[in-house]
Symmetry: C2
DNA sequence: ATCAATTCTTGAAACGTGTCAATGACTTTT
DNA sequence: AAAAGTCATTGACACGTTTCAAGAATTGAT
């Protein structure tokens, strides 16, 4: 167990002043070649590692941003995380990734924690309405960007997808493929993204005139929950079943697909059309390749970081704070007779 | 822009001493009801958030551990991350998740960064040999647990899977299903996990006597790379193709499956048997449900955190430091004629 | 050789918190 | 009623770094 070694110990070994060691760490150009070598040797010898807490305390700031995601095991968020990571690295920032596990408590804990950490800014993806909490945080001086949800307040920067259009595209396509009894599977409907997708879906149904839509509400948008929905649908008399399903995300869609096809022998797309949302990589490789609504994944993370860095730099002037990305339909076998 | 507000400002507003506010934050039971209320009011009014840097500096430690993963978008690591998160939360710890994006540079940067942060300990999953670097870090006082790779040094705690057995199970099964010309798809072979799987596979081949195995080396174990392999295999004359494939992970397997089946009309399992590794959730929902080698995902993260906390507590006495989990074969349609 | 300008080096002060020994206010015991 | 405890509160100090003003050393120009 080595004794604590700080800048002072290094200075002593290298026979220079403590201030010089600090310069070596932060402005190496201001230190002469000779002392640089001595200091480097001392650092190696002692195994010195700068104490970030002290450094931050003195500087009053860090070079770190945070990204809070509700569910890292959803490839949608994982892909965004990679974009965030890359763009942040390009800007010389480090990223703390936090997984709130869809728990509001853990989300709050992380929000609090990152504030205490004095991160430069936070990217927050959430399933809950969270804008008021973010407002408090911004008021206290930490910039935030809402990810995946369009901000209502015009001061809150956000990167989101036009989910109304996404829902519209999905159901319009189902109807074009001869679906008439549409089922929307998703929830909780209180979540903005989900509500928007439903709204777009509803619009497509109304436009068609001769189609109907039922809503199957679920609490979690996971593969497991999709399987349950499949079982529920399969247990109905065939005449009562929908003939086309729009699932609020790809995980749900994959679960439904697997349940219907494997467990209950319902054929896709022959007996049932199916569209998902997000276009995660696994959708293309599923039992029946999944038609989905594609949103620009990498661009998502990049745009979010750009927005945040602008916010940090405080270049407020007339900047557009709410980026809304347009989704597109990707047709695959699950809706192609 | 609110003036910086610290414990001192809170104390002034609440008309108590600064030390009392500190007690309020850390030992509320030592503060009288009356002052507790006053202080809480002052905190709310001023929007005070404790400065973690100062707190850590004074305490000399944090309540945070780090988990460095090579690739969050691989569900295998994402699932482990969830287990880590949960078990850490149960122990009152927070987790900083970092994504090294398979880049050794970023990995080193994060290792350095978390040391500087004085985290309590680090969980590290890597594709590279990393034990010597972890040794340095441990020497400097930060406990580490190697995740996914068995440690060679007996002092380095690790949680891993018996990959030799895993590879053996996979190929033994392929041979039992009448595969004779086996192809192992994976790489770089220098990676311990991959090398072990290959070794187990080779053992199964030798035992069978009448089977052969070729090795198709790849650099990345991703869906995209799997597609390339599929194209390469499909371009051979049929007599030259393997009749059974063991892919070093599920992502590769899914890419291969998709490439063979969708792009080149090769049937699985009729023309080609296919086994993956890791048993990620999407494997069961793929075009042809994927036979795979299952490793206990949640248990992985939990075991890693337990090992780390033991290490942190320094309860060294005769504890087993290298946990090796046993994999099992999960048979699905991709190998079931 | 001298002076000015430049480059290096120095040590003290400050960042915001937790801790600790000391003090004061009460309560209980004798 | 005095002594001995208990509990709340206080304010100074230390944690390890960065910064800053000032001093020392070096360089270049005259």
């Amino acid at each position: 167990m080595p004794a604590r070694v700080g800048i002072r110990e290094v200075a002593a070994v290298a026979a220079v002043a403590q201030g010089t060691v600090s310069h070596f760490l932060n402005h190496p150009d201001r230190v002469s070649e000779e002392k640089r070598e001595r200091i480097q040797r001392a650092i190696d010898q002692l195994g010195f590692v700068r104490n970030d807490a002290a450094s931050q305390l003195r500087r009053g700031t860090s070079d770190t941003i945070a990204y809070i995601a509700p569910d890292v095991s959803n490839p949608f968020f994982a892909t965004i995380a990679e974009g965030v990571e890359q763009q942040a690295a390009a800007n010389g920032l480090s990223v703390f990734l936090a997984n709130s596990n869809r728990s509001r408590e853990r989300e709050d804990a992380y929000l609090e924690m990152f504030q205490a950490h004095r991160v430069l800014g936070m990217l927050v993806a959430s399933h809950d309405p969270i804008e008021d909490r973010l407002l408090h945080i911004r008021r206290r001086g930490t910039p935030t960007v809402l990810v995946g949800q369009r901000a209502l307040g015009s001061d809150q920067p956000s990167v989101s997808v036009d989910d109304v259009t996404g829902g519209y595209l999905a159901v319009q396509h189902l109807i074009a493929q001869a679906g008439r009894r549409i089922a929307f599977v998703g929830g909780p409907l209180g979540i903005q993204q989900i509500g928007d997708r439903l709204e777009g879906a509803g619009r497509a149904v109304r436009e068609a005139g001769d189609a109907t839509m039922e809503v199957i509400n679920v609490d979690n948008r996971t593969i497991a929950e999709g399987r349950l929905v499949a079982a529920a649908i399969a247990s109905r008399p065939p005449a009562n079943r929908p003939d086309a399903i729009f699932a609020a995300n790809d995980l749900l869609a994959l679960g439904i697909m697997h349940g219907l096809v494997v467990d209950h022998g319902i054929r896709i797309p022959a007996d049932m059309l199916l569209v998902g949302y997000d276009d995660i990589e696994f959708g293309a490789a599923s039992i029946i390749p999944l038609t989905s609504i594609r949103t620009p994944h990498e661009g998502f993370g990049i745009a979010a970081v750009d927005l945040l860095t602008a916010e940090i730099a405080n270049s407020d002037a007339g900047r557009k704070k709410n980026i809304v990305l347009q989704p597109e339909l990707v047709v695959r076998a699950s809706t192609r007779g």
